[in-house]
Protein backbone atom coordinates (compact mmCIF):
# COMPACT_ATOMS: atom_id res chain seq x y z
CA UNK A 1 0.00 0.00 0.00
CA UNK A 2 1.47 3.31 -1.02
CA UNK A 3 1.98 6.06 1.48
CA UNK A 4 2.67 9.71 0.85
CA UNK A 5 6.33 10.05 0.12
CA UNK A 6 6.78 13.72 -0.49
CA UNK A 7 7.06 16.61 1.88
CA UNK A 8 4.01 18.50 3.07
CA UNK A 9 3.45 21.47 5.33
CA UNK A 10 0.41 19.77 6.91
CA UNK A 11 0.69 17.88 10.20
CA UNK A 12 1.40 14.15 9.99
CA UNK A 13 -1.73 11.99 9.86
CA UNK A 14 -0.95 8.36 10.40
CA UNK A 15 -4.01 6.42 9.29
CA UNK A 16 -4.39 3.23 11.29
CA UNK A 17 -5.60 0.01 9.70
CA UNK A 18 -8.56 0.19 12.10
CA UNK A 19 -9.62 3.52 10.62
CA UNK A 20 -9.24 2.06 7.17
CA UNK A 21 -11.38 -0.94 8.09
CA UNK A 22 -14.09 1.24 9.63
CA UNK A 23 -14.14 3.56 6.62
CA UNK A 24 -14.59 0.69 4.18
CA UNK A 25 -17.17 -0.97 6.44
CA UNK A 26 -19.17 2.26 6.61
CA UNK A 27 -19.72 2.24 2.84
CA UNK A 28 -19.23 -1.47 2.20
CA UNK A 29 -21.97 -2.80 4.47
CA UNK A 30 -24.82 -0.79 2.90
CA UNK A 31 -23.43 -1.56 -0.56
CA UNK A 32 -23.27 -5.31 0.11
CA UNK A 33 -26.80 -5.18 1.55
CA UNK A 34 -28.08 -3.42 -1.57
CA UNK A 35 -26.27 -5.79 -3.91
CA UNK A 36 -27.60 -8.85 -2.04
CA UNK A 37 -31.17 -7.50 -2.24
CA UNK A 38 -30.76 -7.01 -5.97
CA UNK A 39 -29.18 -10.42 -6.39
CA UNK A 40 -32.12 -12.10 -4.65
CA UNK A 41 -34.49 -10.19 -6.93
CA UNK A 42 -32.45 -11.22 -9.97
CA UNK A 43 -32.73 -14.89 -9.00
CA UNK A 44 -36.45 -14.81 -9.88
CA UNK A 45 -35.40 -14.71 -13.52
CA UNK A 46 -33.99 -18.21 -13.21
CA UNK A 47 -36.90 -19.73 -11.26
Amino acid sequence: MNQPSATSSAAPENSSSGALFLAWAFVGIPLIWGVSQTFVKALTLFQ
Binding site: N2, P4, A19, F26, L31, F39
Partner: protein
Protein backbone atom coordinates in the same frame (compact mmCIF):
# COMPACT_ATOMS: atom_id res chain seq x y z
CA UNK B 1 -6.99 37.70 7.16
CA UNK B 2 -9.87 35.55 8.35
CA UNK B 3 -8.98 32.02 9.38
CA UNK B 4 -9.77 29.44 6.75
CA UNK B 5 -12.99 27.51 7.30
CA UNK B 6 -12.78 23.79 8.00
CA UNK B 7 -14.39 23.30 4.59
CA UNK B 8 -11.69 25.21 2.72
CA UNK B 9 -9.32 23.40 0.45
CA UNK B 10 -6.32 24.59 2.46
CA UNK B 11 -7.69 22.75 5.52
CA UNK B 12 -8.02 19.46 3.65
CA UNK B 13 -4.42 18.95 2.60
CA UNK B 14 -3.32 15.54 3.84
CA UNK B 15 -0.32 15.37 6.08
CA UNK B 16 2.48 12.82 5.70
CA UNK B 17 1.25 9.34 6.61
CA UNK B 18 -2.31 9.78 5.38
CA UNK B 19 -3.42 6.57 3.73
CA UNK B 20 -4.77 7.24 0.26
CA UNK B 21 -7.08 4.21 0.50
CA UNK B 22 -9.30 6.31 2.79
CA UNK B 23 -10.23 8.45 -0.20
CA UNK B 24 -12.32 5.87 -2.15
CA UNK B 25 -14.68 5.29 0.83
CA UNK B 26 -15.07 9.06 1.15
CA UNK B 27 -15.97 9.26 -2.53
CA UNK B 28 -18.27 6.24 -2.23
CA UNK B 29 -20.18 7.89 0.62
CA UNK B 30 -21.17 10.65 -1.79
CA UNK B 31 -21.87 8.46 -4.82
CA UNK B 32 -23.79 5.79 -2.90
CA UNK B 33 -26.07 8.56 -1.63
CA UNK B 34 -26.70 10.43 -4.88
CA UNK B 35 -27.08 7.13 -6.77
CA UNK B 36 -30.51 7.10 -5.13
CA UNK B 37 -31.68 9.03 -8.19
CA UNK B 38 -31.78 5.82 -10.23
CA UNK B 39 -34.25 4.36 -7.73
CA UNK B 40 -36.72 7.21 -7.99
CA UNK B 41 -39.12 5.01 -9.96
CA UNK B 42 -40.17 3.25 -6.72
CA UNK B 43 -42.05 6.45 -5.79
CA UNK B 44 -43.90 6.74 -9.09
CA UNK B 45 -46.88 4.53 -8.22
CA UNK B 46 -47.55 5.93 -4.73
CA UNK B 47 -46.96 9.51 -5.93
CA UNK B 48 -49.53 8.88 -8.64
CA UNK B 49 -52.19 7.89 -6.10
CA UNK B 50 -51.84 10.40 -3.28
CA UNK B 51 -55.46 11.56 -3.56
CA UNK B 52 -57.12 8.18 -4.13
CA UNK B 53 -54.92 6.41 -1.61
CA UNK B 54 -54.89 3.30 -3.81
CA UNK B 55 -51.87 2.92 -6.13
CA UNK B 56 -53.92 0.63 -8.38
CA UNK B 57 -56.81 3.06 -8.74
CA UNK B 58 -55.61 6.68 -9.11
CA UNK B 59 -58.15 9.50 -8.82
CA UNK B 60 -58.68 11.78 -11.86
CA UNK B 61 -56.85 14.63 -10.09
CA UNK B 62 -53.89 12.43 -9.16
CA UNK B 63 -50.54 13.07 -10.85
CA UNK B 64 -50.08 11.11 -14.09
CA UNK B 65 -47.05 8.91 -14.90
CA UNK B 66 -46.00 11.45 -17.57
CA UNK B 67 -46.10 14.31 -15.05
CA UNK B 68 -44.10 12.24 -12.57
CA UNK B 69 -41.55 11.21 -15.19
CA UNK B 70 -40.60 14.88 -15.53
CA UNK B 71 -39.22 14.90 -11.95
CA UNK B 72 -36.40 12.50 -12.87
CA UNK B 73 -35.78 14.21 -16.21
CA UNK B 74 -35.35 17.60 -14.48
CA UNK B 75 -32.94 16.02 -11.97
CA UNK B 76 -30.79 14.47 -14.72
CA UNK B 77 -30.72 17.66 -16.80
CA UNK B 78 -29.76 19.66 -13.69
CA UNK B 79 -27.10 17.06 -12.91
CA UNK B 80 -25.38 17.77 -16.23
CA UNK B 81 -25.87 21.52 -16.07
CA UNK B 82 -24.67 21.94 -12.49
CA UNK B 83 -21.69 19.67 -13.09
CA UNK B 84 -20.77 21.86 -16.06
CA UNK B 85 -21.39 25.16 -14.25
CA UNK B 86 -19.87 24.36 -10.85
CA UNK B 87 -16.86 22.34 -12.06
CA UNK B 88 -14.42 25.24 -11.99
CA UNK B 89 -15.75 26.41 -8.61
CA UNK B 90 -15.14 22.90 -7.30
CA UNK B 91 -11.55 22.93 -8.50
CA UNK B 92 -11.04 26.25 -6.71
CA UNK B 93 -12.69 25.52 -3.36
CA UNK B 94 -11.74 21.86 -3.13
CA UNK B 95 -13.74 18.67 -2.67
CA UNK B 96 -14.83 19.13 0.95
CA UNK B 97 -16.81 22.32 0.41
CA UNK B 98 -18.26 20.87 -2.81
CA UNK B 99 -19.31 17.67 -1.05
CA UNK B 100 -20.96 19.69 1.70
CA UNK B 101 -22.81 21.78 -0.90
CA UNK B 102 -23.90 18.57 -2.60
CA UNK B 103 -25.13 17.05 0.68
CA UNK B 104 -27.10 20.19 1.57
CA UNK B 105 -28.68 20.44 -1.89
CA UNK B 106 -29.44 16.72 -2.19
CA UNK B 107 -30.97 16.47 1.30
CA UNK B 108 -32.63 19.88 0.91
CA UNK B 109 -34.22 18.65 -2.30
CA UNK B 110 -35.85 15.81 -0.37
CA UNK B 111 -37.10 18.20 2.33
CA UNK B 112 -38.66 20.55 -0.23
CA UNK B 113 -40.14 17.64 -2.19
CA UNK B 114 -41.62 16.30 1.04
CA UNK B 115 -43.43 19.60 1.50
CA UNK B 116 -44.63 19.40 -2.10
CA UNK B 117 -46.03 15.92 -1.52
CA UNK B 118 -47.67 17.02 1.73
CA UNK B 119 -49.35 19.99 -0.03
CA UNK B 120 -49.94 17.94 -3.21
CA UNK B 121 -48.18 20.62 -5.24
CA UNK B 122 -46.19 19.09 -8.11
CA UNK B 123 -44.30 22.30 -8.85
CA UNK B 124 -42.74 22.20 -5.39
CA UNK B 125 -41.69 18.58 -6.02
CA UNK B 126 -40.20 19.59 -9.39
CA UNK B 127 -38.28 22.39 -7.70
CA UNK B 128 -37.22 20.32 -4.70
CA UNK B 129 -36.18 16.93 -6.02
CA UNK B 130 -35.65 18.05 -9.62
CA UNK B 131 -33.89 21.41 -9.39
CA UNK B 132 -32.33 21.61 -5.91
CA UNK B 133 -31.71 17.86 -5.65
CA UNK B 134 -30.43 17.79 -9.25
CA UNK B 135 -27.84 20.45 -8.42
CA UNK B 136 -26.76 18.28 -5.49
CA UNK B 137 -26.44 15.34 -7.89
CA UNK B 138 -24.24 17.25 -10.32
CA UNK B 139 -21.89 18.74 -7.72
CA UNK B 140 -21.72 15.45 -5.83
CA UNK B 141 -21.02 13.39 -8.95
CA UNK B 142 -17.90 15.33 -9.92
CA UNK B 143 -16.76 16.33 -6.41
CA UNK B 144 -14.39 13.39 -5.72
CA UNK B 145 -13.19 12.77 -9.30
CA UNK B 146 -10.17 15.06 -9.59
CA UNK B 147 -9.17 14.30 -5.99
CA UNK B 148 -9.19 10.56 -6.71
CA UNK B 149 -7.11 11.06 -9.84
CA UNK B 150 -4.57 13.12 -7.90
CA UNK B 151 -4.30 10.43 -5.21
CA UNK B 152 -4.15 7.57 -7.72
CA UNK B 153 -2.18 8.82 -10.75
CA UNK B 154 -0.94 5.26 -11.17
CA UNK B 155 -4.44 3.69 -11.03
CA UNK B 156 -6.81 6.33 -12.35
CA UNK B 157 -9.27 3.82 -13.75
CA UNK B 158 -9.44 1.76 -10.55
CA UNK B 159 -9.98 4.86 -8.41
CA UNK B 160 -12.68 6.53 -10.50
CA UNK B 161 -14.26 3.14 -11.20
CA UNK B 162 -14.73 2.55 -7.47
CA UNK B 163 -16.45 5.90 -6.95
CA UNK B 164 -18.66 5.77 -10.01
CA UNK B 165 -19.55 2.17 -9.17
CA UNK B 166 -21.08 3.72 -6.05
CA UNK B 167 -23.50 5.68 -8.18
CA UNK B 168 -24.79 2.39 -9.60
CA UNK B 169 -24.86 0.80 -6.15
CA UNK B 170 -26.76 3.70 -4.64
CA UNK B 171 -29.96 2.69 -6.37
CA UNK B 172 -29.63 -0.85 -5.04
CA UNK B 173 -29.60 0.50 -1.50
CA UNK B 174 -32.22 3.19 -2.04
CA UNK B 175 -34.81 1.01 -3.71
CA UNK B 176 -35.42 -1.53 -0.88
CA UNK B 177 -34.77 1.16 1.75
CA UNK B 178 -37.41 3.46 0.26
CA UNK B 179 -39.95 0.65 -0.01
CA UNK B 180 -39.33 -0.34 3.63
CA UNK B 181 -39.66 3.27 4.80
CA UNK B 182 -42.87 3.83 2.84
CA UNK B 183 -44.37 0.63 4.27
CA UNK B 184 -43.38 1.73 7.77
CA UNK B 185 -44.77 5.26 7.51
CA UNK B 186 -47.90 4.08 5.71
CA UNK B 187 -48.56 1.64 8.56
CA UNK B 188 -47.94 4.46 11.04
CA UNK B 189 -50.70 6.47 9.37
CA UNK B 190 -48.56 9.50 8.46
CA UNK B 191 -50.62 10.09 5.28
CA UNK B 192 -49.60 10.54 1.62
CA UNK B 193 -48.99 6.77 1.49
CA UNK B 194 -45.88 7.37 3.57
CA UNK B 195 -44.11 9.23 0.74
CA UNK B 196 -43.76 12.65 2.42
CA UNK B 197 -42.35 11.10 5.59
CA UNK B 198 -40.06 8.84 3.55
CA UNK B 199 -38.66 11.86 1.68
CA UNK B 200 -37.98 13.56 5.02
CA UNK B 201 -36.31 10.45 6.43
CA UNK B 202 -34.18 9.97 3.30
CA UNK B 203 -33.11 13.60 3.47
CA UNK B 204 -31.91 13.14 7.03
CA UNK B 205 -30.25 9.74 6.33
CA UNK B 206 -28.37 11.00 3.26
CA UNK B 207 -27.33 14.25 4.94
CA UNK B 208 -25.71 12.25 7.75
CA UNK B 209 -24.26 9.56 5.46
CA UNK B 210 -22.66 12.10 3.16
CA UNK B 211 -20.97 13.83 6.09
CA UNK B 212 -18.62 10.86 6.26
CA UNK B 213 -17.34 11.75 2.81
CA UNK B 214 -17.20 15.47 3.62
CA UNK B 215 -14.99 15.03 6.67
CA UNK B 216 -12.85 12.11 5.42
CA UNK B 217 -11.84 13.58 2.08
CA UNK B 218 -8.32 15.00 1.78
CA UNK B 219 -6.35 16.43 -1.11
CA UNK B 220 -2.72 15.42 -1.53
CA UNK B 221 0.03 18.00 -1.12
CA UNK B 222 1.15 19.49 -4.42
CA UNK B 223 4.47 17.68 -4.30
CA UNK B 224 2.99 14.33 -3.29
CA UNK B 225 3.28 11.23 -5.45
CA UNK B 226 2.81 7.54 -4.64
CA UNK B 227 6.01 5.78 -3.67
CA UNK B 228 7.83 4.55 -6.77
CA UNK B 229 5.38 6.29 -9.11
CA UNK B 230 6.55 6.45 -12.71
CA UNK B 231 4.43 8.79 -14.86
CA UNK B 232 3.19 7.30 -18.13
CA UNK B 233 5.01 3.93 -17.87
CA UNK B 234 3.44 2.77 -21.16
CA UNK B 235 4.89 5.84 -22.95
CA UNK B 236 1.53 6.40 -24.58
CA UNK B 237 1.12 9.55 -26.63
CA UNK B 238 -2.41 9.73 -25.25
CA UNK B 239 -1.24 10.20 -21.66
CA UNK B 240 -0.03 13.75 -21.17
CA UNK B 241 2.20 15.15 -18.48
CA UNK B 242 0.90 18.63 -19.32
CA UNK B 243 -2.25 20.36 -18.15
CA UNK B 244 -5.14 21.91 -20.06
CA UNK B 245 -7.62 24.25 -18.36
CA UNK B 246 -11.35 23.59 -18.52
CA UNK B 247 -11.87 26.63 -20.76
CA UNK B 248 -9.15 25.56 -23.18
CA UNK B 249 -10.38 21.96 -23.19
CA UNK B 250 -13.63 23.17 -24.77
CA UNK B 251 -11.60 24.52 -27.70
CA UNK B 252 -10.05 21.16 -28.49
CA UNK B 253 -11.53 18.59 -30.89
CA UNK B 254 -10.66 15.89 -28.33
CA UNK B 255 -13.23 17.22 -25.85
CA UNK B 256 -16.01 17.14 -28.41
CA UNK B 257 -14.97 13.72 -29.70
CA UNK B 258 -15.22 12.39 -26.15
CA UNK B 259 -18.56 14.18 -25.80
CA UNK B 260 -19.81 12.18 -28.78
CA UNK B 261 -18.23 9.01 -27.33
CA UNK B 262 -20.11 9.44 -24.03
CA UNK B 263 -23.33 10.51 -25.74
CA UNK B 264 -23.47 7.48 -28.04
CA UNK B 265 -22.45 4.98 -25.37
CA UNK B 266 -25.03 6.27 -22.89
CA UNK B 267 -27.83 6.68 -25.44
CA UNK B 268 -27.38 3.09 -26.60
CA UNK B 269 -27.29 1.75 -23.02
CA UNK B 270 -30.45 3.63 -22.14
CA UNK B 271 -32.06 1.88 -25.10
CA UNK B 272 -31.78 -1.39 -23.20
CA UNK B 273 -32.33 -0.08 -19.67
CA UNK B 274 -35.38 1.98 -20.59
CA UNK B 275 -37.18 -0.98 -22.13
CA UNK B 276 -35.69 -3.88 -20.16
CA UNK B 277 -38.84 -5.08 -18.42
CA UNK B 278 -41.35 -4.85 -21.30
CA UNK B 279 -38.62 -5.93 -23.74
CA UNK B 280 -38.01 -9.33 -22.20
CA UNK B 281 -41.70 -9.92 -21.45
CA UNK B 282 -42.77 -9.07 -25.01
CA UNK B 283 -39.93 -11.00 -26.65
CA UNK B 284 -40.30 -14.16 -24.56
CA UNK B 285 -44.04 -14.09 -23.87
CA UNK B 286 -46.21 -17.22 -23.63
CA UNK B 287 -47.37 -16.52 -27.17
CA UNK B 288 -43.89 -17.44 -28.44
CA UNK B 289 -42.51 -19.64 -25.65
CA UNK B 290 -45.60 -21.78 -25.05
CA UNK B 291 -48.05 -21.98 -22.15
CA UNK B 292 -46.46 -21.53 -18.73
CA UNK B 293 -43.01 -20.85 -20.22
CA UNK B 294 -43.20 -17.13 -20.88
CA UNK B 295 -41.23 -14.55 -18.91
CA UNK B 296 -43.47 -13.19 -16.15
CA UNK B 297 -43.49 -9.67 -14.68
CA UNK B 298 -41.62 -11.00 -11.62
CA UNK B 299 -38.96 -12.64 -13.79
CA UNK B 300 -38.68 -9.42 -15.80
CA UNK B 301 -38.02 -7.56 -12.53
CA UNK B 302 -35.26 -10.11 -11.93
CA UNK B 303 -33.86 -9.29 -15.38
CA UNK B 304 -33.82 -5.59 -14.49
CA UNK B 305 -32.05 -6.45 -11.22
CA UNK B 306 -29.47 -8.52 -13.09
CA UNK B 307 -28.80 -5.63 -15.46
CA UNK B 308 -28.31 -3.33 -12.45
CA UNK B 309 -25.70 -5.73 -11.06
CA UNK B 310 -23.80 -5.82 -14.34
CA UNK B 311 -24.08 -2.05 -14.64
CA UNK B 312 -22.39 -1.85 -11.23
CA UNK B 313 -19.74 -4.50 -11.87
CA UNK B 314 -18.96 -3.10 -15.32
CA UNK B 315 -18.13 0.27 -13.81
CA UNK B 316 -15.36 -1.22 -11.72
CA UNK B 317 -14.24 -4.01 -14.04
CA UNK B 318 -13.91 -2.06 -17.29
CA UNK B 319 -12.53 1.08 -15.67
CA UNK B 320 -9.87 -0.97 -13.85
CA UNK B 321 -9.09 -2.89 -17.04
CA UNK B 322 -8.58 0.41 -18.85
CA UNK B 323 -5.51 1.06 -16.67
CA UNK B 324 -3.88 -1.89 -18.43
CA UNK B 325 -5.57 -1.74 -21.84
CA UNK B 326 -5.47 2.03 -22.30
CA UNK B 327 -8.62 4.16 -22.52
CA UNK B 328 -8.85 4.32 -26.29
CA UNK B 329 -8.63 0.54 -26.63
CA UNK B 330 -11.20 0.09 -23.86
CA UNK B 331 -13.70 2.36 -25.61
CA UNK B 332 -12.82 0.59 -28.84
CA UNK B 333 -14.02 -2.63 -27.15
CA UNK B 334 -17.20 -0.96 -25.85
CA UNK B 335 -18.09 0.16 -29.34
CA UNK B 336 -16.69 -2.71 -31.44
CA UNK B 337 -18.11 -5.48 -29.27
CA UNK B 338 -21.21 -3.38 -28.62
CA UNK B 339 -22.04 -3.08 -32.32
CA UNK B 340 -21.91 -6.87 -32.70
CA UNK B 341 -23.95 -7.53 -29.56
CA UNK B 342 -26.63 -4.91 -30.27
CA UNK B 343 -27.03 -6.27 -33.79
CA UNK B 344 -27.27 -9.80 -32.38
CA UNK B 345 -30.06 -9.07 -29.89
CA UNK B 346 -32.98 -9.09 -32.38
CA UNK B 347 -31.79 -12.41 -33.83
CA UNK B 348 -31.55 -13.96 -30.36
CA UNK B 349 -35.05 -12.69 -29.64
CA UNK B 350 -36.49 -14.00 -32.90
CA UNK B 351 -34.93 -17.42 -32.30
CA UNK B 352 -36.06 -17.41 -28.63
CA UNK B 353 -32.61 -18.03 -27.13
CA UNK B 354 -33.41 -16.65 -23.70
CA UNK B 355 -30.17 -17.55 -21.87
CA UNK B 356 -27.92 -16.13 -24.55
CA UNK B 357 -30.17 -13.09 -24.81
CA UNK B 358 -29.77 -12.38 -21.09
CA UNK B 359 -25.99 -12.89 -21.23
CA UNK B 360 -25.62 -10.51 -24.17
CA UNK B 361 -27.79 -7.86 -22.50
CA UNK B 362 -25.66 -8.13 -19.33
CA UNK B 363 -22.42 -7.65 -21.28
CA UNK B 364 -23.94 -4.64 -23.07
CA UNK B 365 -24.97 -3.04 -19.78
CA UNK B 366 -21.59 -3.73 -18.20
CA UNK B 367 -20.04 -1.68 -21.02
CA UNK B 368 -22.64 1.07 -20.54
CA UNK B 369 -21.55 1.34 -16.88
CA UNK B 370 -17.92 1.04 -17.89
CA UNK B 371 -18.35 3.99 -20.23
CA UNK B 372 -19.34 6.24 -17.32
CA UNK B 373 -16.51 5.05 -15.10
CA UNK B 374 -13.70 5.19 -17.67
CA UNK B 375 -14.37 8.69 -18.99
CA UNK B 376 -12.77 10.65 -16.08
CA UNK B 377 -9.52 8.70 -16.51
CA UNK B 378 -9.66 9.25 -20.31
CA UNK B 379 -10.05 13.00 -19.71
CA UNK B 380 -7.23 12.99 -17.20
CA UNK B 381 -4.96 11.16 -19.67
CA UNK B 382 -5.66 13.72 -22.39
CA UNK B 383 -5.96 16.98 -20.44
CA UNK B 384 -3.92 16.34 -17.28
CA UNK B 385 -5.23 16.49 -13.73
CA UNK B 386 -5.27 20.28 -13.28
CA UNK B 387 -9.00 20.90 -13.89
CA UNK B 388 -10.15 17.40 -14.78
CA UNK B 389 -13.15 17.68 -12.44
CA UNK B 390 -14.39 20.76 -14.25
CA UNK B 391 -13.75 19.21 -17.67
CA UNK B 392 -15.60 16.08 -16.56
CA UNK B 393 -18.46 18.25 -15.35
CA UNK B 394 -18.78 19.89 -18.75
CA UNK B 395 -18.65 16.54 -20.51
CA UNK B 396 -21.57 15.31 -18.42
CA UNK B 397 -23.89 17.49 -20.52
CA UNK B 398 -23.58 14.56 -22.94
CA UNK B 399 -25.25 12.39 -20.29
CA UNK B 400 -28.08 14.89 -19.86
CA UNK B 401 -28.55 14.98 -23.62
CA UNK B 402 -28.56 11.18 -23.79
CA UNK B 403 -31.03 11.06 -20.90
CA UNK B 404 -33.53 12.98 -23.00
CA UNK B 405 -32.54 11.62 -26.43
CA UNK B 406 -32.32 7.92 -25.54
CA UNK B 407 -35.89 7.39 -24.30
CA UNK B 408 -37.24 9.58 -27.13
CA UNK B 409 -35.53 7.49 -29.81
CA UNK B 410 -36.44 4.19 -28.20
CA UNK B 411 -40.10 5.06 -27.64
CA UNK B 412 -40.49 6.53 -31.11
CA UNK B 413 -38.94 3.53 -32.90
CA UNK B 414 -40.78 0.99 -30.78
CA UNK B 415 -44.15 2.69 -31.18
CA UNK B 416 -43.59 3.03 -34.94
CA UNK B 417 -42.90 -0.70 -35.28
CA UNK B 418 -45.93 -1.56 -33.17
CA UNK B 419 -48.09 0.71 -35.31
CA UNK B 420 -46.87 -1.24 -38.35
CA UNK B 421 -48.21 -4.41 -36.71
CA UNK B 422 -44.96 -5.94 -35.43
CA UNK B 423 -44.99 -7.76 -32.11
CA UNK B 424 -42.48 -9.57 -29.86
CA UNK B 425 -38.81 -9.23 -30.73
CA UNK B 426 -39.66 -7.75 -34.12
CA UNK B 427 -41.20 -4.69 -32.45
CA UNK B 428 -37.79 -3.81 -30.98
CA UNK B 429 -35.69 -4.69 -34.03
CA UNK B 430 -35.15 -1.14 -35.30
CA UNK B 431 -34.35 0.04 -31.77
CA UNK B 432 -31.34 -2.25 -31.56
CA UNK B 433 -30.17 -1.73 -35.13
CA UNK B 434 -30.36 2.05 -34.59
CA UNK B 435 -28.39 1.74 -31.35
CA UNK B 436 -25.76 -0.34 -33.18
CA UNK B 437 -25.60 2.47 -35.76
CA UNK B 438 -25.09 5.01 -32.97
CA UNK B 439 -22.20 2.93 -31.69
CA UNK B 440 -20.58 3.10 -35.13
CA UNK B 441 -20.59 6.90 -34.72
CA UNK B 442 -19.04 6.48 -31.26
CA UNK B 443 -16.42 4.08 -32.63
CA UNK B 444 -15.39 6.59 -35.29
CA UNK B 445 -15.24 9.44 -32.75
CA UNK B 446 -13.08 7.34 -30.45
CA UNK B 447 -10.87 6.34 -33.35
CA UNK B 448 -10.31 10.02 -34.16
CA UNK B 449 -9.02 10.86 -30.65
CA UNK B 450 -5.36 11.90 -30.71
CA UNK B 451 -3.07 13.73 -28.29
CA UNK B 452 -4.05 17.32 -27.50
CA UNK B 453 -2.10 19.99 -29.36
CA UNK B 454 0.58 21.63 -27.20
CA UNK B 455 -0.82 25.11 -27.78
CA UNK B 456 -3.69 24.36 -25.37
CA UNK B 457 -1.39 23.46 -22.49
CA UNK B 458 -1.06 25.67 -19.43
CA UNK B 459 2.26 27.43 -19.15
CA UNK B 460 4.08 27.24 -15.82
CA UNK B 461 3.04 25.54 -12.56
CA UNK B 462 -0.69 25.04 -12.18
CA UNK B 463 -1.16 23.05 -8.99
CA UNK B 464 -0.64 26.00 -6.65
CA UNK B 465 -3.11 27.99 -8.72
CA UNK B 466 -5.66 25.22 -8.57
CA UNK B 467 -5.17 24.57 -4.94
CA UNK B 468 -5.04 28.12 -3.81
CA UNK B 469 -2.48 27.32 -1.18
Amino acid sequence: MAEASLLDRSRTIAGPGYNRWLIPPAALAIHLAIGQAYAFSVFKKPLGALLSGDPNAPAPADWTPAQLGIIFSIAIVLLGLSAAIFGKWLERVGPRKAMMASALCFAGGFFIASLGVHLHNLWIVYFGYGVVGGIGLGIGYISPVSTLIKWFPDRRGVATGMAIMGFGGGAMIASPLSVALMDHFKASGTGSLGVAATFLALGVIYLIFMQFGVWTIRVPADDWAPAGYVPNPQHSALITSNNVSADNALKTPQFWLLWVVLLTNVTAGIGVLETASPLIQDTFSEKYMGAGRGVTAAAAAGFVGLLSLFNLLGRFFWSSASDKLGRKTTYGIYFGLGIVLYALIPTLGNTLQLTLYVVVACVIISMYGGGFATIPAYLSDLFGKYQVGAIHGRLLTAWSTAGVLGPLIVNFLHESRKAEGFTGAAAYQTVFYTMAGLLVVGLLANFAVTAVNDRYNEKGPVEAEAGGH
